[in-house]
Symmetry: C2
Subunit: 146 residues, 2 copies
């Protein structure tokens, strides 16, 4: 028996529900990395929806050449991004979201709205929780991350 809960497929078994090994996870993991969403967002708002490597690098504070390259290659591999190479001297490369890539951000919009609305509360919860931990001993914060 296959059902959907919150858009996720799962099977009902005798031991309770079991969720699928999770195709969504692979996508969420990609989005959860440090630079992917920033790159996609910049391409989405760019005039002509295209940007050169150096324009992306300038527009994204703190990204290194290497990480920009890696992020772009991963997006290209997933079919979310096109790479246009112009063999000039000096070389010019332009990046552009594919149709699928461009359709992803609007699909995410409902969730980003939720995040914006709930973020202050999440932050407040973290502060309260972390203070409660800091009795007499300084402990490592649990995955600060960002």
């Amino acid at each position: 028996m296959e059902r959907l809960i919150h858009g996720r497929p799962y099977a009902e078994t005798e031991h309770g529900p079991v969720f699928r090994p999770c195709a969504p996870h692979s996508v969420l993991a990609r989005l959860g990395d440090k630079w992917t969403i920033l790159v996609m967002s910049h391409l989405a708002v760019a005039s002509g929806h295209r940007l050169r490597f150096s324009e992306l690098k300038k527009g994204i504070e703190g990204i290194t050449q290497r990480m920009l390259t890696v992020t772009l290659r991963n997006l290209e591999r997933d079919g979310l991004l096109l790479r246009h190479y112009f063999p000039e001297v000096p070389p010019r490369v332009e990046y552009e979201l594919t149709e699928m890539g461009a359709s992803m951000l609007p699909a995410l919009e409902g969730f980003t709205t939720w995040i914006r609305e709930n973020w202050p509360r999440i932050e407040a919860c973290r502060r309260v929780h972390d203070e409660g931990q800091d009795r007499t001993v300084v402990r490592k914060a649990r995955s600060p991350r960002a």
Copy 2:
């Protein structure tokens, strides 16, 4: 000047758009980790919307005690999860999503729908791309991850 694009705030500068240091990223990074969504999904569909530690462990294939504990503590820290401790012998602990936690999965639904619809295409793109790389030399696939 502050605007919204796809639900994300950004500022228009003389050098082009600059996105905020990204509150959403911290949330997406949490969701992108290996177990968080599985834990939340199980709690969402559980009868009574509560599960014991051991029930979660049994319901999530492959998770270790340590990772389940870490995941639960992180969710608790963010105010997405409540921990109910019953000082019996042997001890019993039940976990339950908070109102905020329960509201997160429905907010994510639009996006998980997008993922389900586009996942086959993403997979196909990856296969094609990876084959194109495998000329004469076997290279490491770029972040297989899942």
